[in-house]
Symmetry: C2
Subunit: 415 residues, 2 copies
């Protein structure tokens, strides 16, 4: 089965928005083993939309369209597809009711043109839209099919997952189940090298690697008959990945590093305080993005100046003058200082040269020290990071969170 | 003149990456008044690439391609365009030298296939690539033109700005000069309503509004003969926008709110310390992203718990029990406490309910207090924010930074 994606909207052609829908849908098609050879973007123009639809239906079995389902005269997708499949448009009472209810809930009057969103090609499958007014639909004629989805990604993606995936799984006879393994602290090429045996012989389940900024995701996907069967297929492969890569695997459920740290702190009834210099609040901000973190996260201190390091954390003046603010010694005293003054079980600290200025030949931009003070000991790591200021700060935050995570591994004396 | 964008790369069709190039180029074409009616994405496949090139050249005067300029056998863009324009490929010695130098600088051996990147359609204009190995090129035949750009956005965008824009400006006889005005604290519809007279009668310069998360950008663009002429055309319009919208305009040079705050602190030789509860380090982190901020930013304190508010900032226990942690009184004591204990000229504080839990009917999620303590007085604002946890935290950070900015307006007693 081959598919094409047709994104409809003048705002895409004018560059007002990025076409994230095309990526979202492409990735899902790829997972399902459905080939997609062309993606096309066309504006809200009748003749050009018709030509794009005709071309796509001449090449592919399945046409997935996003956008152009709204209430205005500009919104032409349903009309064009109805023509291409030789259908007329008829009113769907359930959709009309949905649209009326939505307006009532928002306390707004429904103008008559909104009823256009309840008109559908005769005989199509209507897909509900819990996140917007315009439902989607699927038009089939036994050979070809067109799937019409709303343009806003917040409406499109949930509809795709809830309604299109089951349809495609049924049509292709394939169901998918996947889990995402996350890795920090090992380069992309080393991960792929270590997993080469697992990846070369893969057919089902498959492992797809994605490099993020400083991290890696491995998506493990099984084609299966049920979610339970998929999980049975995936679980041993995930165990083999963990055994092969070791402690750099920090999540097998697509959790981010700060989410994993928050869960570990809660699970161990431990508390944390953070003293940040170069990361400047980034670690605290990541942790505070997790709901319920207040039980575990006592406080953060952004001690960017030497004065603040001394006054707030008790870093010794002699340490700063003998070793400078960016040193293992200062990082150690910062971590121990924030632990002592806050009463937290763990004190985490960062200090470094994030650039673009402030580096020297011996102490270049990207030199960062991170430290964690626990009940048994204080550990310090020296990092040599590359990239711009924001990348260095982000990587330093991730390394620091990873150092915290490692305190909870069974072989850590700090646990 | 009409243009089409053709993005080449199987990684786009598989959904591994988002096509930001198409948006970038579309926006520039739109500015130049060049109509773009189709964007197409095709994989690294000879026949399909040829068909996409033929179709695009049959419809448009100008074809802009990204991707497929690399050294591997998969990279087919130059070959396909050379065929379409009836040219052969010849080696460009300057590009060969550039590629050899780049490998030498990275300390890596250059494999022979890399020379493919120095082969170009005969008679084309070669565009240098300071950020990668593959140069770009422009092939023209007097009627149609094809512009070939590398796929990685970090290489594509600088090449577009440095080489393609001057070419298109020359070809279309139009040069563009634009500046971005940034607005915080006024809704999109009110901004557009207030500017309706300026926007309705616009032809040159034009005002294009963009809504960001909680803010707005207004891009003011002049079609002109020189940058200096453009600035003369734009400047009075920007003054009229400022006069119409007032103090919600915080930048006329596309600076972000935290950059404006950092510049104001420096300009006034003032220092800042921040006490954050619900924003949890986000304000500090934004400020620390500005190089050189250490002169002005004394420290930040993420006082998420009541204990930290009392111990670090001297918030009174009675205040917390009488008014709770999320109250105007607590925000005031936090701002005054961080100012007093840090010695900074300004103390900025946030406290609020970011959700998803912790809200009640009287004190719902989204209730936030922000406060700034200056030399003359402490100002407190109550906010009622909507959206998820991250949006509430981000909006609270922006409102707090805006409160700081307003201390430097001429009518503020805190200046």
């Amino acid at each position: 089965m081959t598919a094409e994606i047709l994104s409809v909207g003048t705002e895409l052609l004018m560059g007002n928005i990025v076409n994230t829908n095309a990526q979202y849908i492409s990735q899902k098609l790829c997972d399902l083993g459905i080939n997609c050879y062309f993606q096309t973007t066309v504006g809200d123009n009748h003749d050009r939309l018709v030509s794009a639809v005709e071309l796509a239906l001449s090449r592919a079995d399945l046409l997935i369209l996003t956008g152009g389902l709204g209430p205005t005269a500009d919104d032409l997708t349903k009309e064009t597809i109805a023509d291409a499949f030789g259908r007329d448009l008829i009113l769907d009472p359930a959709s009309e009711e949905h649209i009326r209810m939505r307006f009532a809930r928002m306390g707004r009057d429904m103008t008559p043109n909104n009823l256009k969103q309840a008109m559908f090609p005769r005989g199509c499958i209507i897909m509900p839209n819990p996140n917007g007014t315009a439902p989607g639909c699927i038009v089939e004629d036994g050979v070809k099919a067109a799937i019409l989805l709303p343009g806003p990604p917040k409406e499109m993606a949930p509809m795709f997952d809830a309604s299109v995936m089951p349809y495609l799984e049924k049509r292709s006879g394939i169901m998918l189940h996947s889990r995402v393994v996350r890795v920090f602290g090992m380069g992309e090429s080393e991960v792929e090298y270590r997993l080469r045996d697992l990846m070369e012989h893969q057919s089902n389940p498959t492992i797809a690697p994605y490099a993020l900024s400083g991290e890696m995701k491995l998506r493990v996907t099984a084609r299966c008959k049920s979610r339970a069967e998929g999980e049975i297929m995936i679980a041993p492969l995930i165990e083999r990945i963990k055994a092969t890569l070791g402690s750099v695997v920090y999540s097998t459920n697509d959790q981010e590093l700060h989410e994993v740290c928050a869960a570990l702190l809660k699970e161990h009834n431990a508390t944390l305080a953070v003293a940040e210099s170069c990361t400047g609040g980034m670690i605290a901000s990541k942790l505070v993005s997790v709901p319920g973190i207040s039980e575990s996260f006592i406080e953060g201190s952004v001690t960017y100046s030497n004065e603040a390091k001394m006054n707030r954390l008790g870093v010794k003046c002699e340490t700063l003058s003998a070793y400078t603010a960016v040193s293992a010694e200062t990082a150690r005293e910062m971590a121990e200082g924030i632990r002592r003054t806050s009463g937290a079980s763990y004190g985490l600290a960062t200090t470094g040269i994030a650039g673009p200025d402030g580096g020297t030949a011996e102490r270049p931009v990207g030199l960062v020290y991170i430290a964690i003070a626990g009940k048994a000991e204080t550990m310090v790591r020296e990092l040599h990071l590359t990239g711009g200021r924001e990348r260095i700060r982000n990587m330093a935050s991730l390394y620091a969170l990873d150092l915290l995570r490692r305190c909870f591994l069974s072989d850590s004396s700090n646990c």
